[in-house]
Symmetry: C2
Subunit: 246 residues, 2 copies
């Protein structure tokens, strides 16, 4: 059983279900193969003698806050989280989204305080991995560093993609690009939309403009309402709009 806690209080939660990686859950974790420890041999898990904490978050709850100094990094086992930064005037900007198997809080590994507010958009399940565990494992399994560097590179690619895709072009183009990125790439799956406010913070538009834009896409048949915030979208049309051909 995991613990649900209030925003901003993760680093000292009242009581967390502590799990010893070497003995129980993580060894059989569903995402183990695609997550951080993929590639580690069974024997390597023996070397972990630190508690790996299991955390659950409800929407709007914070995993950590900017400038906090935490001794852990995190893997997201399920759900979607947003990373926030703030402008001098107080307005906020979403600089990245994280989903299954993504890693948060890597900056802890190099001794830096967290650079964002990390906040759940949906229900989330998270593993908190103390930095000391990584350091110990890394000493005997340098392959782990390769994996970590790959994670960093992935985050960097994401950041660059956001910069080029969500900060240029018309409102119509940006929203189309966002919908493409949110929608499942493999099929025309129903698509859960986040709040208009969050969408605006992702693409640098006001909630009104996002709302208007989505309404127009619906009117033109690019999006079709499926109830419960689900949308069916025409990815082909979205792609054309995203590229400015329309």
């Amino acid at each position: 059983m995991t613990v649900r806690h209030k925003p901003g209080c993760l680093m000292k939660p009242i009581s967390l279900h502590e799990i010893w990686l070497g003995e129980t859950k993580c060894r059989h974790c569903a995402v183990r193969n695609s997550a951080l420890f993929a590639g580690l041999r069974e024997a390597d898990f023996r070397h972990i003698h630190q508690p790996i904490k299991d955390v659950a978050l409800a929407p709007e709850e914070a995993l950590y806050r900017m400038h906090e100094r935490g001794g852990a990094l995190f893997t997201l086992r399920g759900g979607v989280m947003k990373l926030l930064q703030y402008l001098p005037d107080g307005s906020q900007r979403i600089v990245r989204l994280l989903k299954d198997c993504d890693v948060l809080g890597l900056e802890a590994l190099v001794g830096q305080p967290y650079q964002h507010d990390a906040i759940a958009l949906t229900d989330c399940e998270i593993c908190a991995i103390p930095v000391s565990v990584i350091e110990r494992l890394g000493r005997e399994q340098p392959a782990l560093y390769l994996e970590l560097m790959a994670r960093w590179q992935q985050a960097l690619s994401e950041a660059d993609a956001w910069l080029t895709q969500f900060t240029t072009g018309t409102a119509r183009q940006r929203v189309a690009r966002l919908l493409l990125r949110l929608s499942c790439p493999d099929q025309n799956h129903p698509l859960p939309l986040f709040g208009r406010e969050d969408m605006g913070a992702m693409v640098g538009l006001t909630t009104e403009t996002v709302s208007r834009t989505i309404a127009e896409l619906r009117r033109q048949g690019v999006l079709r309402d499926r109830g419960a915030d689900l949308q069916e979208c025409n990815r082909e049309m979205l792609r054309r709009i995203a590229d400015g051909e329309d």
Copy 2:
């Protein structure tokens, strides 16, 4: 003596002055202490048996191009470079600037092709370090990984800062923030401005808007012309403008 070459032909330059790190230059490199190999002990340099190439670029020349697969990463010993990405419509966006002691092309370390066009803004001096060198060094000196991760984190912080600072607010605010970032933080140093086009590509504005904005800042005494593209700037006023108090 270093070699100057045409844009886009770095990966197979005609003839490069090859330098063996273990024996000559890098061991006494001026930036060694603040660059990638800071922290390595003298003995560690013995383990390098691969050529480290020395490259010089003139403005507008490319170090590498997007999607190229290169076996090297780079440290910038002097000068300023830009990292470019492109939009579907062909317009380009500068996603980062690099200066003394910064590292480029880290993605080569995890086997990925380069993610940007890397182009010199000024005359640049660069060391090209084969990935194999890093791998060998890292095997015996895990501390190198810490340094590499710190570099990655720095790049990521930069990327996030660009996203929040240069893609929001009025043209006046963005240009002010850019000038603040370009100007030497310690003093009211003369400031070399890049071309308006490049500035526009950094902050997501057209050259005309950048030009108008800078002209207005001059009229208001925030910038003063010093000839030869040098500007004296009032950092205090810029800071107020950047924060929207104006």
